[in-house]
Symmetry: C2
Subunit: 134 residues, 2 copies
């Protein structure tokens, strides 16, 4: 396989993992993300005062959302995967409509290949401001 | 060298690159960042409607800030570097005080080692909201 074919295959695999985790999230089940996060992960979202380090801390946070979030519809926009050896950077914009209202996000997920299993080692979700506020 | 010694050395190298780019940024010179960005980079900041892809597009954006930003003082808080082969994920919180007022940021930079030169292949800067808004 050429490099680009391999990269396309990795991109497809990673997007499928992300989509499956998002689908569970939208049904109030954070387990989809927790199951594909590596123990060493680092995590930013706009509502935490500090970076979250480690799966135990993320589990504690995400358990609070269990059963509470309902996403009616959402969309991954303009996804891109950059592969660097055993690391892959997934970036996309995301829109969701549901129990939290309508939200627009910027999202970065860095995956690492552990013996064939891709796991998330870094997540950064953020809320962009309207360009007009610059 | 042990793995952790190597990782510590990489972390030190990457933090020095970031600090140097920030110092130039704070003097109105975006060139520090542009010089260490790889052509393939992906980029999110809260004021762009879309992800920026590629160094040419980032150069166009950053050239608008040339000479216009003055940071009086700033601080990298709680930095962490996760090394995955030729990739390294730098995360930190950042506070700056200057021409744009006082700002707090969450920051992710993914560096890639190109034959010994670490370059940025992904940047994600975001503005956290107060925890009270959750």
């Amino acid at each position: 396989m050429s490099v680009s074919t391999t990269e396309d295959a990795i991109a497809g695999q990673i997007l499928a993992l992300e989509r499956a985790a998002l689908d569970r999230w939208g049904r109030g089940d954070p387990g989809g993300y927790l199951e594909i996060n590596a123990p060493t992960l680092s995590y930013f979202d706009p509502f935490q005062e500090h970076r979250i380090d480690g799966l135990a801390a993320l589990t504690e946070l995400y358990d609070r959302f269990r059963g509470k979030i309902k996403v009616e519809r959402d969309e991954i926009i303009n996804s891109r995967v950059q592969v660097i050896g055993e690391a892959a950077i997934l970036t996309f914009r995301f829109v969701s409509h549901g129990s939290e209202g309508s939200m627009r996000w910027n999202c970065t997920e860095v995956y690492q290949n552990f013996d064939g299993d891709w796991k998330i080692v870094h997540m950064h979700w953020s809320l962009p401001r309207a360009a007009a506020t610059t």
